[in-house]
Amino acid sequence: MINKYRWWEYVAIYAGLAVFLGFILAPFIEAFVVSLRPLNALFSIPYQFFTDEMSFSAYITMWQNVPLLWLYMLNSFFIAAMVTLCGLCAIIPAAYAFSRFEFRGKNTLLAAFLAINMVSGAVLIIPLFKVMQELGVLNTYIAMIAPGTAFVIPTGIWLLRSYLLKIPKELEEAAWVDGAGRLYTLRRVILPIALPGIVVVSIATFIAAYAQQFIYALTFNNKNELNPLPVGLFQFFGRQEVVWNELMAASLVGILPVLIVYVFLQRYIVAGLTAGAVKE
């Protein structure tokens, strides 16, 4: 058959996969091993992958060094969730407008939104700091949520627009003939049909917001109890000696929830990433 491999082809594919996944997973394995070893065993030469005295003690002692770990994890989740929610409030109506209406400046506006994709928060960090200062939101969640939201909107609009374009216009025409208002049509006709697309956009937005909250929190926030996970753990480096085993333990505990959620949502994540991009 067409997909039948010879034995050496199997060997080559699995060897290739082992190298490839080895590169992807090595840091996680190393982090896990480090988290199991006592600090003085870590600082031993020559390098050893295994030591005798492995234990989970770092997972217990880390709570003294990072008492707020739970809070950091919650903050990370909260910020990403709020970015997603606020983002959707802007994305859904905008994508609807771009997919259904003809209006002056439509193409220019769409291009302007896409152009935002090119700029990152880091480039605009100076005036952004001033904006946050003048709005009086420095050291609040808003300072971390608002910039994140602005930068997820373009991709969201683009993804959802291509999804909405596939929904036949006859549905709205039928609703119109039956006397439904336009907002009613959006809420009761379009939204339910577009739900799978909205789910995909939400997940893609959440992942982006969750992965990229470092610079805003680092720059706009100095209240420790509001810090998201990456900035909370970044403080490990400020100390005299980095407590590596606890840092690794805290990192792994911190990312575990996302990884578990990911396994369940994997299908949607892949769809979200590839939807608008591969074929329009």
Binding site: Q48, A97, M118, V123, L124, I207, F234, L259
Partner: protein, 293 residues
């Protein structure tokens, strides 16, 4: 759709939330950055317009070097990401048992906070106790401990490798999706005609996934150009400026040294370069849109 009044406000109302937040967070700061770049703004309460003095200042120093380094860093990182990512996609596309599991295992670097992944790499690059130096010593590739982040060349490479690690899963999944969108009957037809696997890949798969690879390369170039977390956490642009890219340079000047005006001038240069990128991006999108229609 009902043909309504010519000056219909409804679509603009729908766009209002997106436009408002974009104006506040992106458009206004962008204008303000340009304005600041012509001032000597700093921590002082007053600021004066000084014309192009900031631009003259930065170009008289090592700025061209920083631009060159940024492009070098980006080009190397994007090339490696595309290469490793496509390699992974080809493997994950093969019909072998266990590929579903392999497809799940490829995702983690992409969905965890970037900074967390970088912490782990920070440990691995440790010369005395880290995994990479340790393994290289064990296999006697290097003579003694090598502190990767302490030398300009190795730090440059180390930050690139971490960037590749974070960017690869997305490329892999993206290219994989493009490969699976290739109609299966094309392969069967070629197979019936006696075309081998390598021939089918070169003549069917590759041409059909090329648009996806082009799009991904460009998007990846833009993201890589804007990459901040990785370099900031690993080296803060050091040692001796060896990993200072334009973004890091801007952040350092403006936020660490409070020279807002000079930092803004650097940021404006970034925006100019990114504008050129966006031109290329729109060109690609419009080409595909025509093809799709």
């Amino acid at each position: 759709m009902p043909k309504t009044l010519k000056r219909d406000l409804f679509p603009y109302l729908l766009l209002l939330p997106a436009i408002v937040i974009t104006l506040v967070i992106v458009a206004w700061p962008l204008v303000e950055t340009i304005r600041l770049s012509f001032t000597d703004a700093s921590l002082k309460p007053t600021e004066n317009y000084i014309g192009f003095a900031n631009y003259e200042k930065i170009f008289s120093r090592r700025f061209p070097e920083v631009i060159a380094r940024t492009f070098y860093w980006m080009a190397l990182s994007v090339a490696l990401k595309m290469l490793v990512g496509t390699f992974g996609a080809v493997l994950l596309n093969s019909a072998v048992p266990g590929r579903t599991l392999a497809r799940i295992l490829v995702i983690p670097p992409w969905v965890i906070p970037i900074a967390i992944g970088v912490f782990i790499w920070g440990w691995m690059y440790n010369g005395q106790f880290g995994m990479i130096s340790g393994l290289l010593q064990r296999f006697e590739i290097i003579g003694g401990p090598l502190e990767f982040l302490a030398y300009r060349e190795t730090a440059f490479l180390a930050t690139i490798i971490t960037d590749v690690w974070i960017g690869t899963p997305m490329v892999t999944i993206f290219v994989l999706a493009a490969m699976q969108a290739v109609p299966g009957d094309l392969y069967e037809a070629a197979w019936v005609d006696g075309a081998g696997r390598g021939y089918r890949f070169r003549r069917i798969t590759l041409p059909l996934i090329l648009p996806a690879i082009a799009t991904m390369s460009l998007l990846s170039a833009i993201w890589t150009f804007n990459s901040f977390d990785i370099i900031w956490i690993l080296t803060e642009g050091g040692p001796r400026g060896g990993t200072t890219t334009m973004i890091i340079d801007t952040y350092k000047t403006a936020i660490s040294r409070f020279k807002y005006g000079e930092g803004a001038a650097r940021a404006v240069m970034i925006v100019c370069i990114l504008t050129a990128f966006s031109g290329a991006y729109f060109y690609l999108i419009s080409r595909f849109a025509k093809k799709g229609a």
